[in-house]
């Protein structure tokens, strides 16, 4: 399957005569649907619910963009991608944007010709082990069998971590999170490693989450964010500022509940510009004036999305930590809307 995707890309690259990176924004508007790449299923971030509707934190970003551009948060075609297929899918134009907890790295940005529009989750790679093994630190994992998702930054971090600490391990490469779970639960691997948020999400889906612990070591920086293709800055701007709008909305206290009321006009000029009651920010991007209002109404501001999908009240139970607003000592900081 993977090969066919690649060959498909090759064929697409070969067949499409000189159709250079055109205006994705126009394509999306003409199509009436946003093609958004997500994971094949990671509870809390992107997973179809019982009715087949996609739901989750990354899905929320897709829906916000669709709402901002098309005015309809449901006008999204979700394309499940694996760690291996995601970049090809984006590069070939199969998807318009990728919101699939993808780590922003130099080589992906520069060499693979993608454009990361921001960070929607500051993460780091961690380890999960069954409690019964009695391990309390990743440095005690000498000789362990480790399940890793292949095609991610995690396998490179893992190789570095074990090499630097001079301990050995046995890597078991796995294609998707869903395939890794039974292997880990059956004990075919001692350790499962991926981003700490992914570990929490995976553990939440277990029958007995309390039997597994996430080790304290975080061995890497994993800023996860949505990305688009290089060379179409207008489209990149749309996705970037939609994400910023969600973050800024939380900072200014704009929620899905009060956005209607606030959009009529407030004393805060920043909110007025954001929601379109003053200035013409939407027009500059080629969108309606109330683009940000629709984006916020789609699923709420950043804080609402976080709390609803992965926050402490959900089974996944992630604390805000680094992902708090800068005013609360976190790293979230939206540039000003002006």
């Amino acid at each position: 399957m993977k090969k066919s995707v690649l060959l498909g890309t090759l064929a697409v690259a070969a067949l499409s005569a000189g159709a250079a990176a055109a205006a994705t924004l126009d394509d999306v508007k003409a199509r009436g649907k946003l093609n958004c790449g997500v994971t094949t299923g990671l509870v809390g971030f992107a997973a179809p619910d019982a009715n087949g509707n996609w739901d989750g934190f990354d899905v929320g970003v897709c829906r916000a963009v669709a709402a901002a551009v098309l005015g309809d948060p449901m006008a999204v075609e979700f394309v499940p991608t694996t760690g291996k297929t995601r970049f090809t899918a984006l590069a070939s134009g199969e998807i318009d944007m990728l919101a699939r907890n993808t780590t922003w790295t130099f080589s992906r940005d520069v060499d693979l010709k993608f454009e990361f529009v921001g960070v929607n989750y500051y993460d780091g790679q961690g380890f999960m082990v069954p409690k019964e093994l009695g391990v309390s630190s990743a440095k005690e994992l000498d000789g362990a069998t480790v399940c890793i998702q292949t095609g991610t930054t995690t396998e490179l971090n893992l190789a570095d971590f074990f090499r630097i600490n001079n301990i050995s391990y046995e890597p078991v490469p796995i294609e998707t999170n869903a395939e890794a779970q039974p292997l880990y639960l059956e004990g075919a691997c001692d350790v499962y490693t991926t981003d700490a948020s992914g570990l929490a999400a995976t553990r939440a889906a277990f029958e007995d989450p309390s039997a597994h612990i996430i080790l304290p070591e975080i061995i890497s920086k994993e800023p996860l964010g949505p990305l688009v293709r290089h060379g179409d800055s207008e489209w990149g701007d749309v996705v970037r500022w939609t994400l910023n709008a969600l973050i800024a909305a939380e900072e200014y206290g704009v929620t899905s509940a009060n956005v209607e009321e606030l959009s009529a006009g407030t004393d805060n000029p920043e909110i007025n510009r954001l929601l379109g009651s003053a200035g013409n920010l939407g027009e500059m991007m080629g969108l309606e004036a109330d683009w940000a209002k629709k984006a916020i109404m789609a699923g709420g501001n950043y804080g609402e999305l976080f709390a609803k999908n992965i926050g402490e009240s959900t089974p996944i139970g992630l604390a805000r930590g680094l992902n708090a607003q800068w005013t609360d000592g976190g790293l979230l900081y939206s540039p000003p809307f002006r």
Binding site: A21, G151, P171
Partner: protein
């Protein structure tokens, strides 16, 4: 046949290219060839152009850079600091390993099943028919996944071997069958160890020499020489003698539970075993049909003639039928071997790091060099497949019927 009673004479005219049967096929072939070349150059031109437009250059420079990832099963030395090229070679060797193991097992199972399917015993032949139909008609990827899932779920994990109330134990204290793979003792060669091996190989050659000598005597002088006991003696005595005379230069390293896993000994990973087994039984179902077809192609008169000479059924099969059937079996067998080798690219489903897993998987992903990697991947598979074809064609030439 078109009869041209009066060949057109005189000067050549362009209309002849279409209307003259002597030139028509050539003309059309030339046109088709030109169209084909045009189509491919158009595709190639577009590819190069589009890559340039996307700002991507075509380069194999990444093969010399450190791979930075680890591979579990390494037949040659490899660390995460080795190059992508070396990682690809590790992958090629893993592909070859599972392909060779798979081809051998598939042939053995296939021949046995194919012969048994023609058995006069109703139960045996029907059982074999069921085997063939089940394995031939379900995709091999499903078999690989099913076998891996059963493997992992049924066999105990290393942690079950631990503690006083362990639920699993090692077989004869030297073999451990775990859901992660099989562990077996590893022979360690001390000084002089290779001499023992050489003596052993020499005595095997000696056994075959003895057999030949006995056959020669039988044909030339009609004397029957008993070879069973001398063969058994040759098999054991010289090797054991040298082994003890040299002071036991070969010792065994036993796998032992240490930390999370068994350490030491030979480790065959669950991924290798599942993949090997799945590919073997899947391909064996096809080979069984080839073998059956080959046997049925040998005329019944041959069997009857052999029987009237007083040969027993087993010898009829081995001496008369199978050698003739090989002519029919070998050509389709080649394509089964090729299929098995190519199907081994499904390895990543169980985390076996074959060529598709290293070069076509992690390397491709981490470098983003999709087109370069896929082209190289195709070249590797092409080379492996052509090599298998060449070897098997040579074998086919050796067994085919000599026209005298």
């Amino acid at each position: 046949m078109t009869s041209v009673s009066d060949p057109p004479s005189g000067s050549f005219q362009f209309s002849q290219l279409i209307y003259d049967t002597r030139y028509r096929s050539l003309t059309f072939q030339l046109i088709a060839l030109l169209l084909l070349i045009a189509a491919f150059s158009w595709l190639g031109y577009n590819l190069v152009n589009n890559l340039r437009a996307a700002g991507l250059n075509f380069s194999y420079g990444f093969l010399g850079e450190p791979a930075n990832y680890d591979i579990n099963q390494r037949l040659i030395e490899y660390t995460s600091q080795s190059t992508h090229w070396r990682a690809s070679v590790v992958g090629v060797l893993n592909t070859l390993l599972v392909a060779v193991l798979g081809c051998i097992t598939a042939t053995v199972i296939g021949v046995v099943v194919g012969v048994l399917r023609l058995s006069n015993n109703w139960l045996v032949s029907k059982l074999m028919a069921v085997y063939v139909e089940i394995f031939r008609n379900v995709p091999v990827l499903i078999w690989i996944l099913v076998i891996m899932a059963i493997f992992v779920a049924v066999l105990p994990q290393p942690r079950d071997f631990r503690g006083d109330d362990a639920t699993a134990s090692m077989v004869w204290g030297s073999f451990a069958f775990t859901g992660r793979g099989f562990y077996a003792p590893l022979p360690i060669f001390g000084p002089g160890g290779w001499i023992v091996v050489a003596v052993f190989i020499a005595s095997i050659i000696g056994i075959f020499g003895l057999k030949r000598y006995a056959t020669k005597k039988l044909y030339a002088e009609g004397r029957v020489i008993k070879t069973l006991w001398p063969s058994v003696g040759l098999f054991f005595v010289p090797t054991l003698l040298v082994f003890f005379l040299l002071g036991r230069p070969i010792s065994l390293e036993y796998p032992a539970l240490a930390g999370f896993n068994f350490q030491g000994g030979i480790f065959m990973r669950n991924s290798l075993i599942s993949l090997w087994f799945a590919l073997s039984i899947y391909t064996a179902a096809f080979i069984a049909e080839n073998v059956r077809a080959g046997i049925l192609a040998v005329s019944k008169g041959q069997t009857e003639a052999a029987a009237s000479l007083g040969l027993r059924p087993g010898r009829i099969m081995n001496l008369v039928v199978l050698p003739q059937a090989l002519r029919v079996i070998v050509p389709p067998l080649i394509s089964q071997y090729l299929n098995l080798t190519k199907n081994s690219s499904l390895a990543i489903a169980v985390g076996y790091m074959d060529l598709t897993g290293t070069l076509g998987g992690i390397t491709l992903n981490q470098t983003g060099r999709a087109i370069e990697s896929v082209l190289l991947l195709m070249t590797f598979y092409l080379a492996i497949s052509l090599a298998i074809s060449a070897i098997m064609n040579a074998y086919n030439n050796a067994v085919r019927m000599r026209e005298r």
